[in-house]
Amino acid sequence: MPRAADAHRPALTRAAPSGLRRWDRHDLGLYVAAGGASVVGALLVWSTTVRTAGNAYLVRHLVTAGVGLAVALLVGRAGRDRVRAVTPWVFGAGVALLLLVRTPLGTTINGSRSWIPLAAGFTLQPAELVKVGLTLALAALLAHRLDRGADPGGRDLVAAAVLVGVPTTLVVLQPDLGTALVLLALGFAVVVVGGAPRRWVALGVAFAVAVGVAAWTTPLLSDYQRARLTAFADPTADPLGAGYQTRQVRLAIGGGGLWGQGFMQGPRTQGGFVPFQLNDFVFSVAGEELGFVGAAGLLLVLAVVVVRVLVVAARAPDAFGRLVGVGVATWLAVQVVENVGMNLALLPVTGLPLPFVSYGGTSMLVSWLAVGLVDATQGERRA
């Protein structure tokens, strides 16, 4: 890197906190892609719920998307330094809420103790918030060393492992394997891009493989998780429970063909055959009603979001911004792959929502918050 570039960049970034950025400095592509995914999601959620609930879910989905957009813009305008300043608080709050779920304040839905009921029927899922907290905390930890021109040492890596380990353990206890997977993956990606030595990376991979084997062979998993995992392999094992869900999802997507059954025309979707279709299995609506063209198009939109995040990260003026971007991109990508993968019978069924698309307030807000964070850390582009 030429020193000249470095010389004038800190001056610009230091100027940022004093005043808000100009509107045209926001990454328009990122907002457009995320907004597009949210609108497609609203249409799909509308299609699965219009028969039973009219437009209520459509409206709520669009309202949360709107709130999410506003939050993203606010965070984006707040700028990198402010975000970095609140990082410890966000991470701390996320972990504290995860602990709160274990207390009587939390509620159990579908076998997982993952929710804190708020007023007026809204619930909060701390596991969603902790993704933000972990991304920021890891980025801050590693950027601190990178900004001083050094790769992280053993002590940094142990600290990073603790940062990843604490929330992941709490999330596994809920149990919420999907989010745990996201936390591990984003942690791994941030640490790797953050400059972890090769042998540490190899050690991490070996550890992950060992944990995977242990999970399968010891009673680490609850019966509920086991049921959902085996249902993915053999839908006939439990035809009335988890296997039923998988079977209906496959029939729905399989019935889509190239062009689909038509919006609001899918017999499985409109017949209400797919349980949890508006959140976990919203992709099957696209599969059945919009066909290969529509579903692949939805994947393309989501891919644009992820790739755009990575592009913004690569252009980030400092290590913090870059690592936040890598964390967010990994997190969104893992959720998309896991969610669509389970819809396509490639991966076990976990309760991970499809970012921007699945119905669910916390997921929508947090996904937009991630966009805001990436936007905030991109700094000023050279004129």
Binding site: L258, G272, L299, A319
Partner: protein
Amino acid sequence: MSRAHAHHGRMLAVLAVVLLAFGGLVGRLGQVQLAGAAGFGDQGAGPGTSLDTRTIVVPALRGRILDRAGRALAENRMSTVVTLERRVIADDRSAAEAEVRAVAAVLRLDPAPLLGRTWLCGERGAPAAPVCWSGSPQVPVPLADGVDAAAALTLVEQPERFPGIAVSSRAVRVYPRPEGASAAQVIGYLGPVTADEVAAGAGLVADDLVGRAGLEQQYDRALRGTPGRTVVAVDARGLVTGVVSRTDPVPGRDLVTSLDATVQASAERALATQMRAAKKRGWAADTGAVVVLDPRSGAVAALASAPTYDLNVWTGGISSADYATLTSARARMPLLSRATDVGFAPASTMKPASVAAAVSAGRSLSAAYDCPAVYRIGDRDFKNYETFPQGHISLARSIEISCDTVFYELAFTQWKREGGLRAASSVAGTFATVARGLGLGAPTGVDLPQESAGRVPDRAWRQATWEQQRGELCRRARTGYPEVTDRTRAAYLQAIAKENCTTGFQLRGGDAANFAIGQGDVLATPLQMAVMYGAIADGGLVRTPRLGVALVEPGSGARTPVAAGPTRASGLSAATDAYLRSALRSVVTTGTAAGAFRGMPADWPVAGKTGTGEVLGRRDTSWFVSYAPADRPRWVVAAVVGQGGHGSDTAAPVARAVHLTLRGLG
């Protein structure tokens, strides 16, 4: 050197992994949707063809049973039911149970039975029936029935707090007893269908109620209407996902009957009053019946039976305690209609038939007949009710004062003429034939599901009974009755068994004599006697009694009359009929019933006949069968009280009270 852009390669690796993963997903999507991967097809069938459906039968509102003035004898009351969608339970049982507890708190009910209802019977962990829900898994579960409607409505006003809760109403059969008329045995009751009936089809489903007695049973099909059918699509958990088709139920038709609540109530009251009075005089007076019918049409205005009970015990399902009470020996079978289901010895009320028989056998209506105190047949003395002889009297007088010995002679003479003991069992006998002609020995054909045929013990009946019982009789003739401790009685019984073993098929002279005065083996229901007196009152025509008048569509008011039963001639000649009518009138003016009808208004002349039946081992059956006005009969009233004493003391006052009510109708 700043490390801000260090590890650019690792960043590119992340991008590559992401692109690879997304590419993989798109590839898999293509494989699944375009190449038809295994597990994603529907075994060759088109999409959506494997929709599972279930048919929910929606019961129709049951028709009412009305009296002739439109007063409801049986109708429906709407009961408020709070239901819960099964989906709520299936999605999250613990949340659903918390909700049910909250519902119970709002309704101020014990939550335990409501929680029990959230389980389908047979489900793993379900409580035993009847706590669990045994109905269709596709209908919302009824949590509580008969709840306060206002409290129930507060539930549906808070759908966020009580998701899946709905309030509906269910029809419950009630019996309003207009004017205090119960008519319990005639109206009948509803009971749950059996598994066999459900299997036989006819649109019945598991928790349906069908008529199990009386008019509810007889007209069940018309009253029940046509149930509606809703075909719903269900998922593999049996949860309803949509409605495929719907046929609305057609409500049942109202049954208009010829019963008159005023007359029915009057009959029931009179029966109860006189039975109480008889008990005070020392009689058991444990059963009774009143029949009121129109002799010109056979339309039945009242069918009372005692003991009776409150039909409303059946409403919402009878409790086992109530059922035990109803069927206990102490209760004396209140479910049984003494008016139609039980035959009594008709006693002297039989005598008009015997007069007609004697006349048709050639005896003169104008001759005088000896009425001694005792008439001897073979080695047995047949006593008159009165202990002193009446001299030679007319047949009319013999009816009026109820002289038995005149009838012994008439019957015995005819019996000898027919061949006596040597007569073949195929010889019908004039007395039996005439009695059958007047409606005895066969069901009247009334529109009720159950009816006793009574019994006319002619030679053929004796032969059949003997053939049936000979084995036991002959065994007793050999072995005697060692279990009977009284030696004399045991010897007497053995002697009878010996005689019956060899000659039990014979109609003996004494049997014939007993038949003429309605004693011995002859049995008739109060309804049969009413039909017989109706024939006398209405020019000798035997009509089929009818309760049903018309079936009325509740919506349009379209009326379908109930077909009248057949009418036939009794074989009674006009002269005999006129003679009998005048004799029956004098029974009430100067004969055995004169005392009971003293002071009866002159504009309502009653004609009738008392009867005092002697039943082996029991006390006398009190009868009075009558019609009025005597000159232009409009109503037949038959009253009977089992173990009620003399006909003029107990049954006649019952009939008198009913006649006064009938007169009041105008």
